[in-house]
Amino acid sequence: MSESDFPPVPSRAELAEPARARSARDGRLRELVDEHYDFVWRTLRYLGVPDANAEDGAQKVVCVLARRLDEVEKGAERAFLFSTALRVAATMRRSDRRRPRASSDDDVEALAHSMPSTEELLDERRAHETLRRVLDEMPLELRVVFVLFELEELTSPDIATMLGIPVGTVASRLRRARETFQAIVRRMKAGARPRRDEP
């Protein structure tokens, strides 16, 4: 490749976006990252992205936001981030499934699906890990509604808008999600491996 393959070098003025506009966009992006990064990071983990990849995934989501910042209407940022996180999570899950598992030993799996004691769950970290195992057993469409309502504490209308479904559908999915969640918890407390078709 020779130098002539490249277009003329732009002037400094051309390179520099008007300072005010740049500052406003930077400021908006900074605010959005500060406000929503945790949400994105949690969402990815609740959607099955392994811990080790959650940061990478969250960064991808935030970079997509940066790339398309001007297209995202004010007030719709969270929905945009969520839908992007869903896509990133889907890709990362597929990628993770292609990797060989560290262990498929039934005993290990059975142990992983057992429920820690109440005392052990007072350890927030332990409780969180257990919560993720429970969520992993829930069908995705129920898990999404459950996470948004019960953990992120969004309202049903907000969830409906975010997912593009009627509020009534949110309510019915939430009802089924709760039943599933409680059934899985019951089974884990009983020491049995949960089934995909809970409850």
Binding site: M1, E3, F6, P7, V9, P10, R12, A13, L15, A16, E17, R22, D26, L29, V33, Y37, D38, W41, D51, A52, E55, D56, A58, Q59, K60, C63, V64, A66, F80, F82, S83, T84, R87, V88, A89, T91, M92, S95, M115, T118, L121, E124, R125, A127, E129, T130, L131, V134, E141, V144, L151, S156, L163, I165, V167, G168, A171, Q182, V185, K189
Partner: protein, 248 residues
């Protein structure tokens, strides 16, 4: 239709309460800052791609404007200097159950639409200013003039993220203002002040971008070669190739 009560308030099952209460952990602060740095770089790149530069360049492909805007064949500024970085060695998470384990990993493939929501699609292009996570980093540095940011004492990776971020933001701002020489000086200052910085990889990518914009393509290429040679699986591979216009 009335809003349901949260299960955490409704259930009498102690296990369920404990599980639901643990449902909103915070991400590591350093992870958020790294995301911000990467996103900020994407924003700067997309600004260029969307603006007058794109018009002048004529055939900008995606966000690759930067890769084609600066090639003047200037002499090399200096050789690459390899610094061993203890990247993220002891990064702490303020309130973070199940802190992510940072390991070297390849970038995730391009995502396709998920079946669930019908929200305006947000195609996940391969994110060029993509993430980074490696246990060992060997970022190259090209020699540059004395820094305009007074180097302070060397700081540890555990406590330096805000300061590192501020330093890199200054460099990014200088680059955004069309002053790559100043950005390079600031990156030198960053390297001196944070020899084991948590954001060393971001500094390397920023340096390559600054060298490209300064017209020092050979130095940018050397820096990129050194970095990619040491970190062939880095998620920054696409970003760097894009900057250099060598994406396949």
């Amino acid at each position: 239709m009335s809003e349901p009560t949260r299960l955490s308030l409704e259930t009498e099952d102690e296990t369920e309460q404990l599980l639901l209460r643990a449902g909103r952990p915070h991400a590591p602060r350093a992870a958020r800052e790294r995301a911000w740095m990467a996103a900020s770089g994407v924003l700067a790149s997309s600004s260029l791609a969307a603006g007058s530069v794109a018009a002048k360049v004529g055939s900008v492909i995606g966000g690759k404007a930067i890769a084609v805007i600066a090639f003047t064949g200037l002499a090399a500024m200096g050789g690459a200097m390899v610094l061993h970085q203890q990247h993220r060695a002891s990064e702490s998470a303020p309130v973070q159950p199940s802190a992510p384990v940072m390991v070297q990993r390849a970038p995730t493939a391009v995502a396709k639409p998920a079946p669930l929501p019908s929200i305006a699609p947000a195609p996940v292009e391969s994110v060029e200013a993509a993430p980074m996570a490696s246990s060992s980093v060997t970022p190259p540095r090209a020699a540059a003039p004395a820094a305009s940011v007074a180097p302070g004492p060397t700081e540890s990776a555990t406590s330096s993220v805000p300061s590192e971020l501020a330093a890199l933001q200054q460099a990014r701002a200088a680059l955004g203002a069309g002053d790559p020489a100043r950005a390079l000086s600031m990156l030198d200052a960053y390297g001196a002040r944070f020899p084991h910085g948590a954001m060393a990889q971001e500094a390397v990518v920023l340096r390559i971008e600054a060298l490209v914009r300064a017209g020092d393509r050979p130095a940018a290429q050397r820096a990129a070669d050194a970095y990619l040679g040491a970190n062939p699986q880095s998620p920054y591979v696409d970003r760097i190739r894009s900057l250099l216009g060598t994406n396949p």
